[in-house]
Subunit: 215 residues, 2 copies
DNA sequence: GGACTTGTCTACCAACCGGTAGAGAGGGCA
DNA sequence: TGCCCTCTCTACCGGTTGGTAGACAAGTCC
């Protein structure tokens, strides 16, 4: 299932660089699907058509492969969100753009959100390698929420915690497919992903909304 | 770390039954902390003061141990939530009671929420073993949300999806500690768990709130 | 006392895992 | 031609894992 896919990461270079990127892509898939300890180097390598020892030529240890995957994933999601934010000015447009970017990424790369979650499971050290590039975006988001609160357009709350809640709402709705399936017996088709996005958008919108008429 | 703990599961029986429960408790801890494939039988057994082969006497395979853990965890969380709901009548009191029950369980058993998440990661089959008992509670919750919407006290939305969003908000805030740490450099003390609960309650309250004055 | 059950152990095993050593193929280049 | 560099391979290793076989001790029941 989920056969070979062409270039989900950045532009490919010559020779070995191309293989390097293919290995990272496959590693993100494997780590997301089976977890770090559940995925094996042989499996990742053979999915790229090579042997484990060749993989170890590119990445000397499993941990090095993880680190490279974390960095690449962080860069990818940063690029995706930044691109999605372009031209969006209002508070709500920007929030919706971020959600949409993440969902679109999840649609073309289903294991990606699970890899993010696995990174957070592996502890703060691993997660911070992922969020290196993302930090600037995070600070922008907190500032943005704070401004919205000051302007009375967003419910007043600790902006960092609010951002954290929004994170869990979006990532959770992408990674907890089993829960959703158990609740409504849903098959994980594209249609249901779209519907989930709509529901998350609605949910987030009402969570951000300021309380009614607090004179 | 996290030395021996006394009876987090149900009442203990005589002889082997007691050891059985201790093993399940430790398995939930280990599976939650290290994941299913990351946890080893030897480690679980020796944490209970016995050898791996003795564990295999109680549970013939690792998978059997997982199944027993899933069932036990499902029963435990069902019991906890049911007890917390007693005497709570208003919509909001009931929602808050559920959140509080889960947070209290997480406080005295930190690996528990991670085990729940691991169960959902292992696929629908595993997760359904966990939610067997929980199904009645889930249907009650959906009915409850629907009634609240009809009465105009809760924002109108698909009640099952809404419940799913609430699930991800609560479980996410308990399991994504690394994310929170990366955001605000927080240590995982008891105080911060309390604060997280307050934030979740606030978040959920505003998410449930109906839109202002839709005449 | 002897059979049976229950619980725990030692001793192994095959499979798999991450990682090492080193050979060889092929191309670029002086 | 000969050298070097890049890439891929076969062969192997030590450690760990889930799981099996079987001995042994302590009741318990007849």
């Amino acid at each position: 299932m989920g056969g070979p896919t062409g270039r989900l990461l950045s532009v490919s270079r010559t020779g070995g660089e191309k293989r390097r990127h293919a290995l990272i892509e496959e590693a993100i898939r494997a780590f997301g699907r089976d977890g770090y300890s559940g995925a094996s180097l042989e499996q990742i390598a053979s999915a790229c058509g090579i042997r484990k020892q060749t993989l170890l030529y590119y990445f000397p240890t499993k941990d090095a492969l993880l680190e490279a995957s974390l960095r690449a994933a962080g860069e990818r999601v940063t690029r995706e969100i930044s691109a999605g934010l372009e031209g969006k000015e209002t508070y709500w447009d920007r929030a919706e753009a971020v959600i949409h970017s993440v969902f679109r990424l999840a649609e073309q790369w289903p294991e990606f959100p699970m890899f993010i979650r696995e990174a957070s499971r592996l502890g703060p050290a691993a997660f911070e390698q992922l969020t290196g590039d993302l930090e600037a975006l995070q600070h922008r988001a907190v500032r943005f929420l704070q401004e919205g609160m000051d302007a009375g357009e967003i419910r007043k709350q600790d902006p960092t915690f609010l951002l954290f809640q929004l994170y869990t709402a979006v990532v959770g709705s992408l990674t907890e497919a089993s829960v959703l399936r158990a609740m409504i017996g849903e098959d994980k088709s594209r249609v249901s992903l779209r519907r989930r996005e709509r529901e998350v958008v609605t949910f987030v919108r009402s969570a951000l909304q300021p309380p009614p008429a607090e004179a």
